[in-house]
């Protein structure tokens, strides 16, 4: 049998120039991109093609990315530590604002008892950049971005792998940080960041099946809260959108998340730290945005701030619905009452629908009826509103009115349930007349 290497090269082909083949390139610009978008794309392309230029003197990691090696019992880890003054701004929000806020209401809002007593100053904000987009054992977190309050500063500490063998040292620092901070905050960490990190901790023997608690820790996943609070307000609830819309922060020439793995591989192959620096910057913004997003979420969901009347209708309805789901009908009613006082128009319908539901749960039958009547006035073909109103009227024994409303609902959508209700009301009315 001949050498395996020779057979391999003959059968499967010689290697090309691996370093240039894998240089990151931006995806082609989307059709219909505006001038700004096209200019951004061109700048990104220029930046990336510079990374792949051959025969350059490559800058050092320290200069381009910053940071320094930190010694651990598992060897050295590369750490980029950047303190940001709590009075500095990220977009339209002050970084330190969150830490002046009480966040006691968040556990109830999220519906997770582990978050009782959530204290932002004891929280670790966490966001990773990984070598692949799935959860398999081969995907590693080459950059772990951590944010926390340290005195008067919000510190962003980024644990960077210079090469895969740094991982034990990197995870050692992560475990230390986890020990110092009882609460975790992430954006989509439940399904991504923590899944990847848990896998890495197992692979590097920090965890066994008996001791494997990363996903059991008190954890505020801002993606889920944001989805609940801001659904329908803007185009979507991705972090980039929330930054622009909720935080007033616009990134300049940021690297797209889909190119992050390629940047890491490019660094490994070429030794050029520039793509890595781009990812480090991207990750820094992620962490800072999480801090300010948490502040915005805490603010928007706090019923005690006395700013309830300033909420716009859609945000209020989202919050009220979330509170209803958490069985806090009183809270929901408090969010909605100030808005419901304004004049009836179509935009008010969702407010009135949610308010009717809140009042029903509070046992306020008259209030529920009032909200429903205004609801079908604001939105005459609202099937749910009509159906609910027919039920309320029937329970109040106003059979003629109930029948009229049920017929209106039946005109909107002739369901068999409504048909039965109408038949029953007609029979009750007939009996009432006979009796």
């Amino acid at each position: 049998m001949k050498g395996l290497g020779a057979r391999l090269r003959r059968t499967l082909g010689e290697a090309g120039d691996a370093s240039s083949a894998a240089a990151p390139t931006p995806e082609p610009p989307a059709p219909g991109l505006d001038l700004d978008g096209l200019a951004r794309h061109a700048r990104l392309q220029a930046r990336m093609s510079r990374w792949a230029e051959a025969n350059r003197d490559l800058p050092a990691l320290e200069e381009t990315v910053g940071g320094q090696a930190r010694t651990t019992p598992h060897g050295d880890a590369w750490v980029v530590r950047r303190p940001h003054s709590a009075v500095s701004w990220h977009g339209e929000r002050r970084l330190g604002a969150l830490f002046e806020r009480t966040c006691d209401h968040l556990a109830g809002l999220v519906g997770d008892a582990r978050l009782e007593g959530f204290d932002p100053s004891k929280a670790l904000f966490l966001d990773i950049e990984a070598s692949g987009l799935d959860h398999g054992a081969g995907t590693l977190a080459f950059l772990i971005g951590l944010g926390y309050l340290d005195g008067d500063d919000v510190v962003v500490e980024q644990l960077l792998l210079r090469e895969p063998n740094d991982e034990q040292a990197q995870l050692h620092l992560l475990v230390e940080a986890l020990e110092r901070h009882p609460f975790l905050v992430s954006f989509n960490g439940k399904s991504y960041d923590l899944t990847v990190l848990q896998s890495r901790l197992v692979l590097n023997r920090f965890y066994t099946s008996r001791e494997c608690d990363l996903k059991l820790r008190p954890h505020l996943d801002l993606l889920h809260v944001s989805r609940n609070l801001y659904k329908g307000l803007w185009e979507d609830t991705r972090l980039g959108t929330l930054e622009r819309r909720a935080l007033g922060f616009e990134r300049v020439d940021d690297i797209p998340g889909s190119l992050v793995p390629t940047c890491w591989y490019h660094w490994l192959r070429s030794g050029n730290p520039e793509p890595l620096a781009a990812v480090v910057e991207h990750n820094l913004y992620d962490v800072l945005s999480m801090v300010t997003l948490a502040d915005r979420v805490a603010h928007d969901s706090d019923l005690g701030t006395g700013e309830a009347a300033e909420r716009d209708a859609a945000a209020a309805v989202n919050l009220a619905r979330l509170l209803l789901r958490r069985k806090d009908a009183e809270g929901a009613a408090r969010v909605l009452e100030p808005l419901a006082r304004s004049a009836v128009d179509a935009a008010l319908a969702p407010v009135l629908a949610a308010l009717a539901e809140a009042r029903r749960r509070l046992g306020d039958a008259a209030g529920e009826r009032e909200a429903l009547e205004r609801l079908v006035e604001a939105s005459p073909r609202d099937l749910q509103g009509l159906t609910r109103l027919a039920m309320v009227l029937e329970r109040a024994r106003e059979l003629d009115a109930a029948l009229a409303v049920a017929r209106r609902a039946h005109e909107v959508l002739p369901t068999s349930a409504l048909g039965q209700r109408i038949a029953r009301l007609e029979a009750r009315l007939a009996r009432a007349r006979e009796g």
């Binding site: 391999l8 290697a15 959860h135 398999g136 054992a137 895969p164 063998n165 197992v202 591989y265």
Partner: protein, 784 residues
């Protein structure tokens, strides 16, 4: 009216007593009934388990079960080769559950080759666990497991039942989520071991290398318990697959009823052409006789097409006998799962009395006891033949298997040498765990799962070879080396690009128009021969014509038709030698083996009339070529050699094609492989020209035949090969001598016939003469 009721005994007597078929029966082997031999459960078996077994009516185990349980409890790896229905599952369920009852952390992994088998095994194991009343979790984990149930399987499954494909793409790459399983894995059960041969086996061997590597990481070292059909080398195969040394338990203590095996060679219908009555016709007549006499019968046919044809004929026959047509059902791989479950239930409750199947039923799915089994043509391996035969008489009582030989050379060789079947030399299952394609794919997956440590060898691959593959992958940017460790370095998930069944391409879907209804699925390679436009595609005994093949989207649109013909595709293949320098040449004729590229193409199709089998038309087919990188064994006849023969060039070439056919036949027997595992092409070495074989067209035209030195290629019909070509090169003198014996001793006399020369346009004796002359010349050359 007096109805003659015939029994199975009457039918056996008629078959073998000479009244109807006498001269056609070349062997009648009776296996006498065997009484059970019992052993005892170990005294210290967990009392709960002992009681549950008793409650299920199992007071004592058969001798082999007792022996197997003792072997496993002694901590040894085990391979078990007792026949179908001997109670193999108890051999592993008892020691596994015993351990789980004592140490609830214990985990076991059961691997079955198909999802259907997993489900079947799950029901059996579940019943035993229910009887214990203990809190033991058993789950199947496959593509059908809903995502929200997967977590429960990972955390609470004491016994996880899965298939190799799911282990490959769903468990090993996610092993950190399965740490409870891997930390506590004590047993790995691999059933139907013999199915893991050839390319599939080569994949599974690498899959198990990955599994053991991950177990080592978590500090576990599971025992392997393997079960196999009867093959010649179960221990060798199991060792190659698992990488561990195993003890064999082979002697069954289970009782069996009297079993008759009849080898049946259909009568010659065309003396001159050596053609025998069709195996399909013979099979369905015999099956109809059995079914209408009340004997439950299964018919195994070699291909989907044959299943459908026999099914059509059989339904006609039972309808004529005033029995419901759905008493007979088809059963094959392409049927959708719920269709298959319905048929299995019908067999169990008796509403189905006849089944026509491909080898999907060969594996151990429990369909209840059938009394008779008809095997229409040699199924390609002796193990398959015996497993199919085992479908008759799974329980006590008399049973019958009739094997009906085709006209084909291998069938004819075996039916006239029945000792080969009955004696103790069935086939050797062969795998090549170091097949380059397979190895490289799995080392990628392995590197994804865990970085390769410095000085880590992959399974039994040497450290040097392991390092060469790792360096190769590194040079392609797939891996990153840092301080001697190799890390995965691509963003893609490697397992999704590796298909264990050796068919990387997706199945085709068959859609009926105008209903827009999905009828069936067809694997990628079969689609080329069965779903080309104008093909008559048979499903469930009904005919459909392919109206349009949407090749890029893998969809075939068919319409229901009732033609009086079916279609059969014509294909041809070319072989190009990839690297002459790496070839081991021998002798003047350059007997060699090495790496080749095989290109196959479907050129057209023939229309064959039902019942008469006459050819009623042709059509053209335009489909992309299929390419395969593999290994071949070949020799070249130079023009000088050909010209020295007392034949014109065309006759000499016919002779060479005939010789290649004889070689192919004896090679499949000598190498104990299915005839489809070995491909045959006669052409030139640069793949410019190839000669027609088995109905294929001539590429390049007959006029170019003057231009080249013809080469006979026998190639391993699997990408990368499974070691057949090298083995053939080694045993070539023996194979050639047998081929000459076959040509010289064929029943056709001097003329030549399809059995000895393969299909040809005519048999006038000249081609046979040339074949024999060329063979002798070759033998002289080799022996020189």
């Amino acid at each position: 009216m007096l109805l003659e009721t015939r029994t199975l005994d009457d039918i056996i007597a008629d078959l073998t007593g000479g009244r109807e078929h006498g001269p056609q029966v070349t062997a009648h082997h009776v296996r006498p009934p065997r009484l059970p031999r019992f052993g005892a459960f170990p005294d210290d078996l967990h009392p709960v388990l002992q009681e549950s077994l008793a409650r299920l009516g199992i007071e004592r185990p058969y001798a082999h079960q007792a022996q197997a349980i003792a072997t496993v409890r002694a901590g040894k790896h085990l391979v078990l080769t007792t026949p179908t229905a001997s109670g193999k599952t108890l051999c592993y369920n008892v020691p596994v559950l015993d351990r789980v009852l004592r140490e609830p952390e214990t985990r076991a992994l059961y691997i079955f080759p198909t999802k259907a088998l997993s489900q079947d095994q799950y029901s059996g194991l579940h019943a035993l666990i229910e009887a214990t009343g203990a809190d033991i979790g058993t789950f199947t984990f496959d593509g059908d497991t809903p995502p929200d149930a997967r977590r429960a399987v990972r955390d609470h499954g004491h016994v996880v039942i899965t298939n190799p494909d799911m282990l490959h793409s769903g468990i090993l790459p996610q092993h950190t989520k399965w740490l409870k399983l891997f930390e506590n894995l004590r047993y790995v059960v691999i059933d139907e071991l013999h199915t893991y041969r050839g390319i599939f086996g080569s994949h599974v061997a690498n899959l198990l290398r990955r599994l053991r590597r991950i177990c080592r990481f978590y500090g576990s070292d599971p025992q392997f318990i393997c079960c196999s059909a009867t093959i010649a080398n179960p221990v060798e195969l199991a060792t190659r697959l698992t990488g561990v040394a195993l003890d064999l338990v082979g002697e069954s203590g289970a009782p069996t009823g009297e079993h008759h095996l009849v080898c049946y060679n259909p009568p010659v219908v065309n003396q001159q052409l050596g053609l025998r009555a069709g195996v399909l016709k013979t099979s369905h007549r015999l099956a109809a006789d059995l079914i209408t006499s009340g004997v439950s019968t299964i018919v195994f046919a070699g291909s989907r097409l044959q299943v459908e044809i026999i099914l059509k004929y059989l339904r006609e026959a039972v309808t004529k006998a005033h029995l419901p047509a759905d008493l007979v059902q088809g059963y094959r791989g392409g049927y959708l799962p719920n269709h298959r479950r319905r048929i299995e239930a019908g067999l169990r409750d008796g509403s189905v009395r006849g089944v026509v199947a491909t080898n999907a039923l060969e594996l151990g799915i429990d369909i209840g006891s059938l009394e008779a089994c008809i095997i229409a043509g040699y199924p390609g391996s002796i193990a398959s033949l015996w497993q199919q035969s085992g479908r008759a008489g799974r329980r006590h009582g008399k049973s019958l298997t009739v094997w009906i030989a085709r006209s084909s050379a291998v069938d004819q060789y075996l039916v006239t040498h029945p000792d080969t079947l009955l004696g103790a030399s069935p086939e050797h299952a062969r795998i090549d765990s170091n097949n380059l394609f397979v190895l490289v794919d799995h080392m990628k997956c392995a590197a994804f799962e865990l970085p390769f440590e410095p000085d880590e060898a992959f399974g039994d691959l040497s450290l040097k070879d392991t390092t060469e593959v790792l360096r190769y992958l590194e040079s392609h940017g797939v891996l990153n080396e840092s301080q001697g460790r190799f890390h995965w370095m691509e963003r893609v998930f490697p397992a999704t690009h590796v298909n264990l069944r050796g068919v990387p391409e997706e199945n085709f879907v068959v859609i009926e128009v105008p209903q827009d209804r999905i009828l069936a699925e067809v694997d990628f390679r079969s689609a080329h021969t069965t779903l080309h436009e104008h093909a008559i595609h048979n499903i469930d005994g009904l005919q459909y014509q392919v109206e349009r093949l949407d090749y890029p989207n893998h969809k075939a649109f068919v319409r229901r038709v009732e033609p009086d013909y079916y279609t059969t595709a014509m294909t041809y293949s070319r072989v190009a030698v990839l690297d002459e320098e790496e070839v081991d040449h021998e002798g003047r004729l350059g007997l060699a083996h090495g790496e080749v590229l095989v290109t196959s193409k479907v050129t057209g199709f023939k229309k064959i009339r039902f019942h008469t089998g006459e050819n009623v038309g042709y059509g053209e087919v335009t489909l992309p070529d299929l390419e395969m990188h593999t290994t071949a064994c070949w020799f070249t006849m130079t023009s000088a050699v050909l010209e020295a023969l007392p034949y014109d060039r065309a006759t000499a070439l016919d002779g060479l094609v005939g010789l290649s056919h004889a070689l192919h036949t004896t090679a499949t027997v000598a190498l104990m492989c299915a005839s489809g595992d070995l491909g045959r092409v006669v052409g030139d070495r640069s793949a410019g020209v190839s000669l027609p074989i088995e109905g294929g067209g001539v590429d390049g035209g007959r006029g170019r035949l003057e231009d080249f030195d013809p080469t006979v290629f026998l190639y391993d019909n699997m990408p990368g090969g499974v070691g057949l070509a090298g083995e053939l090169h080694k045993r070539f003198p023996d194979v050639l001598a047998r081929a000459l014996g076959m040509l010289a001793g064929c029943g056709c006399g001097e003329s030549g016939c399809p059995a000895c020369l393969g299909p040809m346009t005519g048999y006038d004796g000249r081609a046979r003469g040339a074949a024999v002359a060329l063979g002798r010349l070759l033998l002289q050359e080799i022996r020189r």
